[in-house]
Subunit: 217 residues, 2 copies
Amino acid sequence: MEESGKTHILIADDHQMVIDGIKSMLSDREELIVVAEATNGQMALDILAADPDRFNLLLTDISMPLLSGTDLCKKVKMQFPHVQVLVLSMYNNVPAVKEAIAAEADGYILKNSGKKELLHALHRISNGGTYYSQDILPIIYGQYQKQKEQDEELSQLSLREKEILALILKEFTSEEIAEKLFISKKTVDNHRQNLFVKCNCRSTVGLVKYAIKYGIG
Amino acid sequence: MEESGKTHILIADDHQMVIDGIKSMLSDREELIVVAEATNGQMALDILAADPDRFNLLLTDISMPLLSGTDLCKKVKMQFPHVQVLVLSMYNNVPAVKEAIAAEADGYILKNSGKKELLHALHRISNGGTYYSQDILPIIYGQYQKQKEQDEELSQLSLREKEILALILKEFTSEEIAEKLFISKKTVDNHRQNLFVKCNCRSTVGLVKYAIKYGIG
DNA sequence: AGCTTAATAGGTATATATACCTACAACAAC
DNA sequence: GTTGTTGTAGGTATATATACCTATTAAGCT
């Protein structure tokens, strides 16, 4: 960054075509220089570690082999805080966006954004700002709700109930579960009964479906 | 196609960035002319239908709103057989590739291919050839095996057994299932017993997990 | 202090599932 | 024609789950 006006970029994306596409798009922008590229997160980190001062912006995909984009982002922000990070994601799901935010990314845009938005994001971020695609906001909300509903569904179960449900899923009988937990079989049966009500079903079959649907097992 | 040597391309991809990237990559190739672009399958079809002779090659993504790439390919091959189709996919799963082949696509490459492979594929296809990315072959095989194993797993069950398993999954008791199928409860119980052996489990819990795992339900 | 919930446990039934057993008719395969 | 599978059905037990009920203890909340 000897020259203040120029942004030196490292691109990380496991799709070579995306890398080539971005390079082509930036080829006519003198202030945006693609210095290096990597096809996985670990490679990007190695390139950065070798000479951190060569870069001041990391443009990274999320889903990459060896080291994900968010994990890469975390490491970069910890080890090389002078490097700004723009996450470029194919997916508009909540966990991804939340993780990116948690990883202190400076921006997040979707791959269905055009060249214009990419340039806009790059300029804003290289000037120390942030840029989060407007597209993801409603999507975040929608997905967030969905995830939240799942969590809420599970959170209505007590710890013990979840524990017992997990053991039911492993094909243990009430008696076996009782032995494992050092409690009475009657207690296990009572928990089963309560689970029926909470899971809105009438037999163990329903419990198993519930457990699988909401991610126990 | 008044000029024999030139390829007139229609790009269809719901990710504007991919479109822009491809256009940039092809911008220095005089023989490869991007005539139009579409961000969904229906739009691509409309553009083609408006003036089919403007194009001789369709470069399309698979997953697109309104009309998928494979469905688009089928329609194009039926209505405008002079248009060659190159499918450009983000995903390397079997169903996608199989569908593309069934849709008579002339080529299939992954987005993690580079500029070089894209140009190679475009040239081969525009000369009347085909191009299937080498990358997908082992992937197809691997996924195909997986799918095959699932099918084989399920095919060990007789029709009646699958039928009963499906009803068990709906939380019906043996008695209720017997009523529905106009058979004896004992018969249903016998089927259950046989299912335990075939599904390698010891209770209905195992049957439910098996059914969900192998796609009944 | 009073209220709620979770977790515990027991009683008493009934319902349902599971484990073996035999048996037979239809059908396909060798 | 014999063999094997599927689908059917019954007998006889036992094991397990399910449906109600009450009740105590500990913990947390207002």
